[in-house]
């Protein structure tokens, strides 16, 4: 294992100070389920880790009047099993139930996964489709970053070295909305070969009022399929349109050939998954 120092802040203020003091050299560790393998493979070589896993007051799920707020230290498992999330944001609970294995979900956190910005992370496309924001803070104060603006490139995010993500905020979804996520993977517990999340809102005549479609694992960072969304806008969805939407979604994917398969195969999987999640999201919206 790589050598590093681990700092254990007593509270957030303490953590902010540590990050400021070691700016550029320190990394935050929460559950570390994504970070630890990266450290073991020497893909990152921080001098210090600031361990926030044991801080209090950051483990919560709140269903507020503006939407859902999930604290930085809330585990995947807590999200997966939350009654309110299962009822109001089922796509989140379903995504979490397919993330890695139980051990990972028990110790890893949702916000940590987002900040890790792995190009194969399951939560990002779902949270993006739902229009989520990240509340971050440093000892200079707080700011809110729309996830749309958060993922910059391969494992690069808008989070500054001195900042800590405090919570993820998922806005209330409008009436007649639905969302779905699906990944194709080799094993049940594997990272996706490709995955797609879609959120749609319908009008009273089942025409698509709004749609957000995001892909994961087929680009250096999650990517939005705007053209596909535009194709859906104002339309009642049928098989022919679904084919076009799938095609348009794959059109913006930029996969590489690697141990998860060839770029061509990943494109094909994007099409298959897009059809599935868009029609699922629409069915859900119709039922809502």
């Amino acid at each position: 294992m790589l050598r590093f120092e681990v700092l254990h802040p007593h509270d957030l203020a303490d953590a902010f100070d540590m990050l400021t003091q070691h700016e550029g050299e320190a990394k935050i560790i929460a559950g570390g389920q994504g970070l630890m393998p990266v450290l073991k493979h020497r893909q990152l070589t921080p001098r210090q880790l600031v361990n926030i896993r044991n801080l209090s007051d950051l483990d919560y799920i709140v269903d507020g009047k503006d939407g859902l707020r999930i604290g930085a230290l809330t585990t995947h498992q807590a999200v997966e099993n939350s009654a309110i999330i299962k009822k109001r944001w089922p796509v989140l609970a379903e995504m979490e139930a397919r993330l890695g294995d139980i051990q990972t979900r028990n110790w890893g956190t949702l916000v940590g996964n987002v900040c890790q910005a792995s190009p194969t992370g399951d939560p990002a496309p779902v949270l993006l489709a739902l229009g989520a924001c990240l509340k971050v803070a440093s000892n200079r104060g707080e700011r809110l970053i729309a996830l749309d603006d958060f993922f910059l490139d391969y494992q690069k995010t808008a989070l500054k070295g001195v900042e800590i993500a405090l919570e993820i905020q998922v806005p209330k979804q409008p009436a007649r909305s639905g969302a779905a996520y699906h990944k194709e993977s080799y094993r049940w517990t594997d990272s996706p070969i490709a995955s797609v999340a879609a959120a749609v809102t319908l009008d009273e005549r089942d025409r698509v009022k709004g749609a957000r479609i995001f892909m994961q694992a087929v680009c250096p960072a999650p990517i939005r399929a705007r053209q596909a969304e535009d194709l859906l806008a104002g339309q009642q969805v049928n098989n022919g349109l679904l084919d076009q939407v799938a095609q348009a979604t794959a059109g913006v994917a930029c996969p590489i050939s690697d141990v998860y398969g060839t770029a061509e195969y990943k494109m094909e999987m994007v099409k298959v998954i897009t059809r599935q999640v868009v029609s699922q999201a629409i069915k859900q919206a119709q039922a809502a």
């Binding site: 194709e184 094993r187 049940w188 141990v259 398969g261 298959v272």
Partner: protein, 788 residues
Amino acid sequence: MTQTSVVLTELPAQLEVVGKGVPRVDALDKVTGKAKYTGDFREQGMLFAKLVRSPHPHANIKNIDVSAALAYPGVKGIVLPEDAPDRRMGYFATCDRQVLPKDGRVRYVGEPIAVVVATTSEIAEEAVALVRVDYEALPAIFDAEEAMSPDCPVAIHPMKHTYSKGSAGGAVQAVPEIPNAASRFKIRKGDVEKGFKEADVIVENRFTVARVGHGRMEKYIADAWMEADGTLVVRRAKKGIWRDKDWLCQLFGLPASKVRVMESYIGGDFGGKGWVAFEGLVALAAMKLKRLVRLESTREEDFHDGTMAPGAVMYIKDGLKKDGTIVARETTMILEGGGYTGGGSGQSALCIHNGILACYNIPNWKSDGYVAYTNNPPTGTLRGVDAPRGSWAAESQMDCDAHALGMDPLEFRLKNVAREGDTCALGQVLQHISPREAIEKAAELIQWGAKSEGDGDWKRGKGLGLANYGVAPMAPSDVLVKVIRDGTIEVRHGTDEVGQGLNTVVAQLAAEEFKIKTDRVKVIFGDTLTAPWDYSSSASRCTWFTGNATVAAARDAKQQLFMLAGKRMGVAAEELDTRDGRVFCKTAPEKSIPFSDLFQYESAIGHGEILGKGYYRYQRQPFDPETGQCANYYPTYPYLAYGVEAAVNTRTGEVRVLKVSAGVDVGQPINIKMIEGQIEGGIVMAIGQSLLEEVMLKNGVHVNANFGTYRMPTVMESPYAANIKVESVGKPDPTGLHGGKPLGEMVLIPFFAALGNAIYDATGVRMTHSPMTRESVFWGLRQHANAH
């Protein structure tokens, strides 16, 4: 004391312990966490070694500069090629590997060049990065068929004509006329050209298979130290204490009394824990530094240093009569052996045929098996020693044959299946065999003939596969059986508990002899100081060899016991028998005496303990290297047939194995629960190797040497518990121990083709490359749809 070798023919009805699902004798240790594995020992002050490895697939080493590394704080020493012996090692076929590349050449990415020893593993690793090696890169070759071409510009082992054969002999031949051929095996039976002329239909195919790894849970780890009297001690997570002891003696020119080898419970083997290269490295470090040194692989290194199974290209041609008879078969099989084949794959030129040569009665047979050197990582033995590769080709071919004739694949197999008295491809007469019953049972359990329904995007199909296997009679076994005065029986054996359950098997055999429960048997193993000579838990030989020696030793001990008791009881020894820790008179069972009394009585005149000794060996007749023919190449022929029901997703190419049935002929099973366990485990390993697992190489670099992307099945990719069905169909083999035959390695062999045949049944797509990844099935479906 006597040396005896016995063959037992008791009927199953007379057996009380053997043949039953007796609980494993090691299970209590293992469920409580008390079982010790090599890595569980840790000594104060031990040093840690890390290896400097080649980044080049093929290069000459010009210079090694260790000055910066030696100066690094905490570094205690560095072992260089100049410290290593010249001798090349290997088992079976070819001795082609030096402990460190003293010949100045590296032949694969990851080949160890030097050993850095330091006070912590972190320091050792950091110092490895400070070693400067100058290389002269050489052209490299990665493809087996290119390497085998006579005008290949690269010669990987230019001195291979000087290499010797391995200590266990080996049936394969050197091939001086082909520069990169490591070994060859030929089979010539009947007249294959005549057979093809008589045939109505010829079916020809080419099949390929990727490299796969063992994926055993416990990695390589070894400790070595020198004792005060100059004895080298090596304690390692590997099998074959005596084989390693012999090797270490040969390597370092040490006398037999000055090497001690130890092992503990082994966390899985699957053929990958036999190769000695690792011990050579740590022993060198201990001898040079005179300290206790630990060398532990990372998971990535465990792939490199292991003996992964080679990839292969296989051509197969069958001549068929319209009535469904196979009249001739010709195969050419080329294995991609990597930079070195001493880890056992040299023998694969023969072994790739091992799962197919006794399944069907084929009068005319011609095979050429080759192992090619390339600049990929080395290869070696993996469960079945490449018999699964040959079977993948041949049992897929059987379905192609059947379809070419318009026959049902089961009917076609039954038409040709080997019968009692037929000769196999090696010319040996087959006796006490039940392949027909095995395939019929597998077909019955999978409900062959009942078309399974698809479900939406999922199409379903069924497939069959049959395999034989040969237990390799490589070396004899010695076993000691002690009688302890409290009635406990102690068995000492010199082979290994790799998880297969050998300790339970020998405990059952000894318990049967003394008519006690297995919890009164203590099994001692894992140290050349205390355990008698044996070869290793290899080639599915232990039940047959170590088992036979156990019974012989128990009978020897019993004989001594009866002599003592006879004198005490005033009865002739022949009148006596034993049960539950007492000796009794057969004609008057009320006349009995506990073991403890015997010792009290006799110790006064010098018999403190009773020590029985047993021995077993098998004498193979000479075989003809030009034809591969041998009258008794293998002592016995077990069989295994699988039926597989699979579902194929037509949109994604994903394949799920829904149900697997097994009909197994292991004669009279010694422990049916452990047989089930071996087969169930083999099925899931085979699901991995046929669908998910693949050693991916890019210019000689293994790019997925981790458990994240070398994808072994989890329980989620395995069938539901009730959907794996195993039934034993064999009849007792009177030449076998209690009528039993071996099993361990056979459990992978027939699965690959059975699954490929099920995919064909479901979709009409014939897969010719394994693993049948979801992507390859996807493109196969595309191509099929475009063609139809």
